[in-house]
């Protein structure tokens, strides 16, 4: 697949950014930070109305049949706007498991609902600090799952979950309707991510893969979500770069714009470098979908995007000085998002290890 965006892809990038610029409201997002279990309904309504939920779902299931490149571009716009809900990534992860998994009936039933936005998906893989624990504590037996998945992104409001579990046949992936689960919202530093502890107590679940097949599928789903997330991180990092630039050319100190001081201008030039390296990795990762070096490309994208978003959050606040740490200015929306996205879909350590395993020939 080409690493140059075609006209359609460029239109998706421009249009998603335009719509979000017009509809997102910082005051609304700031208020949501102090409420647990609520997301930004105008954001999600926009996502559904614009067809973003349908983008990467196959046409035969009511989707638009596009891929990671297009979804990534939307995610980038969402990242710039510190989007108010996590379902684009969660629903995409679930939909990919359904497309690739072994239950056509379930796929036929759920995919159209995910595409239309009638159903919201989440992905419950992590336990403790492990993104993909080798022996999950949640157990599948007799068509039902039991156990707890902690702080699942989207867990407060998702309808359906893709869950990484243990079973008699080793690890497995199952799909569970969350009507049958107990949700305990987790008060977080980034509340619109809707983290909730999901407790399953003989909750009915459908098996879609087990054993080695489940491992491979879970890793692929996690990698795909990581590409979407990396795009979101690049969008946030880029927004911070230009916020810092705009401030540095207007704010004056010692009789000149602070952007004239090399300590400031070099810092901003470094922010640019981080964004462009991460963006290039994201474009390559999205275009590598389905290829042999996909996981390496994903790890590169994820590592550089996390570094870019974390660094640019720190430095953008620093360049603003005192005003940068105020609640009202809202740079902390990005600071918070940089960290929540860094932890979701496998943290830096996870992707560093995965990458080195492949480079050093340790991976089986």
């Amino acid at each position: 697949m080409s690493i140059l965006y075609d006209e359609g892809q460029q239109a998706i990038a421009t249009e998603s950014r335009r719509v979000l610029d017009a509809r997102m409201d910082k005051a609304r997002l700031l208020a949501l930070l102090e409420r647990v279990g609520e997301h930004d309904a105008p954001f999600w309504d926009t996502a559904v109305e614009q067809g973003w939920t349908a983008l990467a779902i196959p046409e035969e299931h009511g989707g638009l049949g596009l891929g990671l490149t297009e979804l990534g571009l939307v995610a980038q716009a969402c990242g710039a706007a510190t989007s108010g809900a996590p379902f684009l990534t969660g629903s995409y992860g679930l939909s990919q498991a359904l497309v690739q998994g072994g239950d056509a009936r379930l796929a036929g039933e759920l995919l159209p609902r995910l595409a239309s936005g009638d159903a919201k998906g989440c992905v419950a893989f992590a336990e403790g600090n492990a993104a993909l624990p080798p022996s999950p504590g949640v157990v599948f037996a007799d068509g039902a799952i039991s156990g707890v998945k902690p702080a699942v992104p989207g867990g407060c409001a998702a309808d359906v979950a893709l869950v990484w579990v243990s079973s008699d046949n080793g690890v497995a992936l199952v799909v569970a309707d969350l009507a049958g689960a107990r949700r305990q919202p987790v008060g977080s530093y980034d509340n619109t991510r809707l983290y909730a502890d999901l407790t399953f107590d003989r909750t009915p679940a459908t098996l879609i893969a087990s054993g080695e097949a489940a491992k491979a599928l879970a890793l692929d789903v996690l990698a795909r979500m990581a590409v979407v997330t990396a795009h979101e991180q690049v969008g946030g990092a880029e927004a911070l770069l230009y916020t810092a630039r705009d401030y540095a050319v207007t704010r004056k100190a010692f009789g000149q714009p602070i952007g004239q001081f090399q300590s400031i201008k070099h810092r901003i030039a470094e922010m640019y470098g981080l964004v462009e390296v991460a963006r290039a990795n994201c474009i390559h990762a999205a275009a590598s979908e389905g290829s042999d070096d996909f996981l390496v490309a994903v790890a590169d994208a994820r590592i550089s995007a996390t570094e870019a978003y974390d660094t640019n959050s720190r430095d953008c606040v620093q360049i603003h000085g005192g005003i940068g740490v105020t609640w009202e200015l809202g740079l902390h929306l990005h600071m918070r998002r940089a960290r929540s996205l860094a932890v979701e879909c496998g943290n830096l350590v996870f992707w560093e290890d995965l990458l080195v395993e492949r480079l050093a020939g340790e991976a089986k």
Binding site: I3, A248, V249, Q256, V277, I283, A299, V356
Partner: protein
Amino acid sequence: MTDLATYRENARAFLESMAPKYGRDARRGNSVERDLALGREYMAAKYDAGFAGINWPVEMGGQGLTHLHKITFDGEEMQFGMPVHFFGISLGMPVPILMHYCEDKDFVKERVRKALRGEEIWCQMFSEPSGGSDLAALRTRVEPDGNGWKMNGQKIWTSWAQYCDYGVIVTRSDPTVEKHKGLTYFWIDMRSKGVDVRPIKLAGGDSHVNEIFFDDVRIEDSQRLGAVGGGFGVSLHTLMIERYIATDSSGFGPHLDEFVKLAKRVELNGRPAIEDGRVRSAIARNHAMRAGLDSITRRAFAMMMAGMQPGPEGSLQKLVAVRSRQKLSEMAMDLMGNEGLAFDPHAFVKTDWGTSWLNAPTGRIAGGSDEVLLNTIAEKILGLPQDYRPDKGVPFNAIPA
């Protein structure tokens, strides 16, 4: 297969046939003089095989192909470690500038052919003791002398000048106007009377750069390239020619694979170093960074193929890559421990960590220091204001010393 893919295959076949005689292994232990002689032979062979002057006009003795063909060839050639470094600047900037500005076309054709065959080498004399990054601060003076010019002054950091036959030079012809406006550009014969080339030994032990003194050197007006007072423009043109060159995300040091091999070979605390978290993190971060640079290069290439102008992010390559090579080289030396204390002054930068480390500072200074590159990114790409410039709008001879 595309035209370029076929071209790449042909280039590789040629390079593989040359490698036994001219490649990295064949050159090991060579003196500079022996290496230069080998380099001249290789350049002649390359010329005869039709891989010289790839993107230069046919009427000038080139192959008339595109810039992409040239980058393709250079990228392949770089992997073989051929002795081409003596000719890189010569063919990269001075000779193209001569082709563009010199009106005596027969003279130019002869120079082009000899430069392409490695028989003649050209240097580029820009930097001076009073200014490297600040090019327009130069002081080498030319004064009218009959129907020509007389030059006095000094240049420095001139690569390979001790082996050069000709050079291009930018000089001050009028100190009473603003510093950018009083410059004039010439080509000169390096064997002219009054030219004194003295090699400078660098920290890494080699002496590829020189200082050059000019004592009443006579220059004909026919050697002038561009207008009197137009030297700064010709200088910028010179620096722009090589804007999209073959890049190396390893910062012209060892490939990351070499570091991985080292980390698998040596032990830390009784276990392979590759199992150490610090080592893994360094590998992963460097890989992510280098992969990003490689993707930027591929995208620039794809854009050129589509007839578009590549984005400005290409300017990150040297800044990011050389800096990381310097640090990674330090870590590699740490991993080798005492075993890495042995030093071979003839080792290659791309295969030896000690040599890579010792020569890395040059890479961060030559061709635009890190600081100047950051300024350029900040000002030209991001629109940040220029630094405080007390020399702005002031005649050169009124700038406070």
